[in-house]
């Protein structure tokens, strides 16, 4: 049908091949008719491509950071366009734990248990000042950084961070995945079952992270109080 009359051996044009195929009810390949229907690449690339573009977050929102996390998922910022298609409220179907907000000590075993329930490969984002360091809550009840409880891949600073900040943190996770290799999978991802439910950091590391005020047993309400005389700033006074 698409053949020319008497010329014979001229190669067919792409349009003619396509017309031929459609007449016989065949589908073209990914790149169209007349092109190879396969390509060669590395397994690492394909696996990492699939992983980094389908990261399902496990939202662990405890405070105001969770509001910004919700805004990130809403239509204005639309986390789904980066592959975080669905907030996974089940840790077993999640890939990245977003800890958004302050974590009191009473909640620490819950956070640790959720992390233990997530399947490898998994990543963790510490969103905001409180999750990363305790923030302004340097008090008796507050975990001074969730990296004492679970390993953290990306810290997003801010109080709270804007949705762009969280999205940038997730893109840094994507960049981290891009450089992973399946040959390193065991060394990167193997977990020791005896560490389930245990803090990630050792005692010395916890003390170091809990600084800069040192051992909390030596704190009282005066030890860190400076002389607080009201500064003389006459320009601040209303007439």
């Amino acid at each position: 049908m698409g053949m020319s009359d008497g010329e014979g051996t001229d190669p067919l044009s792409l349009a003619e091949i396509e017309a031929l195929g459609q007449a016989e009810g065949r589908q073209g390949g990914l790149l169209g008719f007349g092109h190879p229907t396969f390509l060669t690449t590395k397994v690492d690339f394909v696996v990492n491509w699939a992983r980094r573009n389908s990261l399902w977050p496990m939202p662990f929102g405890t405070a105001c950071c969770a509001i910004e996390m919700m805004a990130s998922a809403a239509s204005n910022f639309d986390l789904a366009r980066f592959g975080m298609e669905r907030m996974s409220f089940s840790p077993r179907q999640a890939d990245v734990l977003i800890c958004a907000g302050r974590v009191p000590y009473k909640l620490a075993p819950v956070l640790r248990r959720i992390w233990d329930q997530m399947m490898q490969p998994k990543w963790c984002i510490s969103m905001g000042a409180c999750a990363s360091s305790g923030g302004v809550f340097d008090t008796y009840s507050m975990v001074q950084g969730i990296d004492t409880i679970v390993p953290v891949d990306v810290y997003v600073p801010g109080c709270p961070p804007r949705p762009e900040g969280l999205i940038y943190g997730l893109m840094m996770i994507q960049e981290k995945i891009r450089h992973e290799s399946l040959t390193e999978h065991y060394s990167l991802r193997a977990e020791n079952p005896s560490l389930v439910g245990r803090p990630r950091a050792g005692d010395e590391e916890v003390e170091a992270l809990a600084g800069p005020f040192g051992n909390s047993t030596q704190q009282d309400q005066l030890s860190s109080a400076a002389q607080t005389t009201r500064p003389e700033r006459s320009e601040d006074l209303l007439p």
Binding site: R112, Y140, S141, T148, I149, P199, T229
Partner: protein, 234 residues
């Protein structure tokens, strides 16, 4: 600020002034103790138990009670037809520091008479024990547990006096007391270790843990039959 006869830390040590102080009211009469019918009735009926009376923040009447008679006076306030304080809004405590007595605060509201009353009982720091009012208002159950948890006040006859906010294995004391160090008594490493060794079976009964599990395990009184819904709509 540092005065001539003391350092700036004296104020920190002594704590703030107690908030109880008679205040002038712009509209005369509201601040007058005689204007609150419950106060005059209390002074007439429980003369020995009512220690003093104050008006705070314009029109908030505060009656200081002898801690030994809080249960009897509060029961009368709830049941007397002229008082009818049927809503216990809050039970809390205030520690002003500096060795001053700890105040237990009962905030009452009378729905029939649309009247508010605040009752305070002052407890010395070496005798933090008072009668529970759970038998009068069920709302006091968790509120008194919270006061026990954060201030260490023992409520006698409380049906279930245990911690409610802090973990059950918390061993550093009662955090809202003024003598409690801000960062706690243990090191951060010890606090982290203790936090992760919590057992949720300490906080919940087996029945509480089963609710929300399999569908058949909810308590039988929870589902509402269609008959009841129909009658409510009528």
């Amino acid at each position: 600020m540092a005065g001539e006869n003391g350092s700036a830390f004296d104020a920190v040590e002594q704590g703030p002034e107690a908030s109880g102080r008679n205040t002038e009211t712009p509209h005369g009469g509201v601040g007058n103790p005689a204007e609150h019918p419950s106060v005059t009735a209390l002074q007439g009926r429980f003369d020995s138990a009512v220690l003093r009376h104050e008006v705070q923040a314009g029109d908030q009447h505060v009656v200081f009670l002898d801690p030994g008679s809080n249960r009897a006076v509060l029961a009368w306030l709830r049941d007397d037809p002229e008082q009818r304080y049927d809503l216990l809004v809050d039970v809390t405590a205030v520690d002003y520091g500096g060795g001053r007595p700890l105040q237990i605060v009962y905030q009452l509201w009378s729905v029939p008479h649309k009247r508010a009353l605040r009752i305070k009982c002052e407890l010395p720091l070496d005798g933090l024990s008072i009668e529970s009012v759970v038998q009068l208002w069920n709302a006091a159950n968790w509120l008194e547990r919270e006061v026990y948890d954060l201030f260490g006040v023992e409520f006698r006859d409380h049906p279930d006096l245990r911690r409610i906010l802090m973990p059950q294995n918390y061993a550093e004391g009662h955090p809202l007391r003024k003598d409690f160090p801000l960062r706690g008594r243990f090191s951060r490493a010890e606090q982290t270790r203790r936090a992760l060794s919590q057992d949720y079976h300490d906080d919940y009964t087996p029945e509480e843990l089963e609710v929300g599990g399999a569908p058949g395990l909810a308590p039988p009184e929870l589902p509402i039959s269609t008959d009841e819904v129909g009658t409510r709509l009528d």
